[in-house]
Symmetry: C2
Amino acid sequence: MQNFVFCSPTTFVFGKDTENETGDFVRKFGGTKVMIHYGGGSVVRSGLLDRVKASLDEAGIACCELGGAQPNPRSGLVYEGIEMARRENVDFIIGLGGGSAIDSAKAIAVGVPYDGDFWDFYDDKAEPENTLPIATVVTIPAAGSEGSNSSVITHEEGMLKRGLGHESIRPVFSIMNPELTFTLPPYQTACGCADIMAHILERYLTNTRDVEMTDRLCESVLKTLIEDVPVVLQEPEHYGARANIFWAGMIAHNNSCGVGREQDWSSHQIEHELSALYDVAHGAGLAVIFPAFMKYTLKHDVQRYAQLAVRVWNCEMDFQNPEKTAREGIARFEAFLKSIGMPVTLEELGAREEDIPAMAAKTKMGPNDILGSFMPLSRKDVEAIYRLSMQSNASSR
Amino acid sequence: MQNFVFCSPTTFVFGKDTENETGDFVRKFGGTKVMIHYGGGSVVRSGLLDRVKASLDEAGIACCELGGAQPNPRSGLVYEGIEMARRENVDFIIGLGGGSAIDSAKAIAVGVPYDGDFWDFYDDKAEPENTLPIATVVTIPAAGSEGSNSSVITHEEGMLKRGLGHESIRPVFSIMNPELTFTLPPYQTACGCADIMAHILERYLTNTRDVEMTDRLCESVLKTLIEDVPVVLQEPEHYGARANIFWAGMIAHNNSCGVGREQDWSSHQIEHELSALYDVAHGAGLAVIFPAFMKYTLKHDVQRYAQLAVRVWNCEMDFQNPEKTAREGIARFEAFLKSIGMPVTLEELGAREEDIPAMAAKTKMGPNDILGSFMPLSRKDVEAIYRLSMQSNASSR
């Protein structure tokens, strides 16, 4: 296990009707003028925005609002939000919705007190020094942004998708009412599941040894999703299953499952180009890329893949041929994704084979043009993974 | 799942040599004059106390020290610590050692700014309003006090053992260097393991439904201990296994595994009388009480016990006779405790059958003289559990 510092100071307010406590918590954390940043009309139509505003009002807290955050949130709206927040003297930001609204709200929170272009933070040119406190009212279990120190934004100039990781953008509190997820369409529920699984797998696929405790935590999250996602696809208002998935989404990305280990994150980088180019849902892109990444890297650590297959996918270990077990695990993962309605090939996403070289060329690599750490990838490897994701060998189950 | 609020804001500084960062972190959290509270001579002999003091000195932070905290820490030393801290104008407390030193340090931290008797907080007569910030340098994986909001103290008058749970006594930071646990004697290592397992089981045995995610987290911790504790008993300086056990001990008690569910905690109350009367190690007392509690409550929820048996103890489910599977799980738990050197009967602890009525009479019950929530216990039940723990049916494995 590696040395680490872990701090997840967010206050999670979880359960039925908790959105009505928003105002109390803003007051507790010292906010006096709030900007609520949200996405589409569903939070308006459902009455959620009104309930949150009523709660703020009851606590004597003024607010302004900015809607319009889209999946793969764009820089344009962030600039607009920063301007509005300055104009309105906002001292507290609430991201209301899924990961996109929250990530966009985080970008506004770092941008408001900064003299330069907020994009500097996403482009590794500057580090946030002052950040407005940010809180969330989450409606989608997926990005885990409600408990994480990260935010991903797409810059419209060049459609570059970049992430920022910084402790100052961890929410001070997050309101999580599982009932708010009842109306999520099946496709979005499944995309969220794929995203959560990917957050775990980016951590699970590591070269760090002696990480039994966090391995087991990772496996717990995957097993919970495998059990509960099919339940909510059948019965969207199953409170218990929705609650488990919601909490799993937070745990998967506040790093409690990832401490003390080298993490990979190359599949996320590879996917980013995909959703930047075709504007596909992040989770759907990951459902396509991750199995391909796994097949490509399988031989790098057959035993780790076999462990995943046995412990999570209930494969029986083939002690004569661990690689067979490892492959069976990946096949079951792919079949699971398919069974919950996810695409598992680039074709299904509408991607074109001829775009692959350009995507590989645009992928943000690490130092020395190498990506990831589990099996360090060259651009050639990245291109090969895109190509591998053109086809699938998943069987329906 | 029940509604909950969860916040675990402690900064965990984990890994080799991290005790040398103590001074930096005290400064970061605003401390200027520290009291280091510790237990026996081992932290002196090993040079740990000197290293921590050197780190404080380097950061320009003054300190005073108070040793002598014992297992099942007593009120006398707490009164002494409170007086010393006031006299020395201490504004920051460090508990250095295992759960006893830390719990004692927490009691001092709540007591210093309080006009009355600190025992009021442990006796449910008052609630802490101002508490000095507390940090820890942990040397024993067991109590989980490094991440928890709780502290247990024994009052010398009447030998009453009582717990306080309050958010203000969660450490602001905790230093966790697994190397500091290399020299733990096998018996103390095993006691710690029993304590950690009990912290999980008090949460696992619940009547709350739809808690799949936290069930699985609980199981992760138990499985990690089952794997790694025998490793360190064979090879005390196995860094990886020590690290996993250390982190497991924290997770087991910062409540990340217990959110959203009714918890029991009757075995802890039953054990408290045992260690107050015979001064046995808390973990050893729990190793005796818990299997008896489980046998006594088995019929209350056979399926839950069968789940535990199958998922954690690798029992094969007997679908014709789930109770058989459930019993086998408890037997394997008992055999595991025995295999790591724990007592599993009251006799082994030196307890006397004739003391049982007095212990049952002294046990701190809940409202209406009922204890716990999983299977609410009367005093008669408590007495029956003490009696059941006189004998064992554990086989050595």
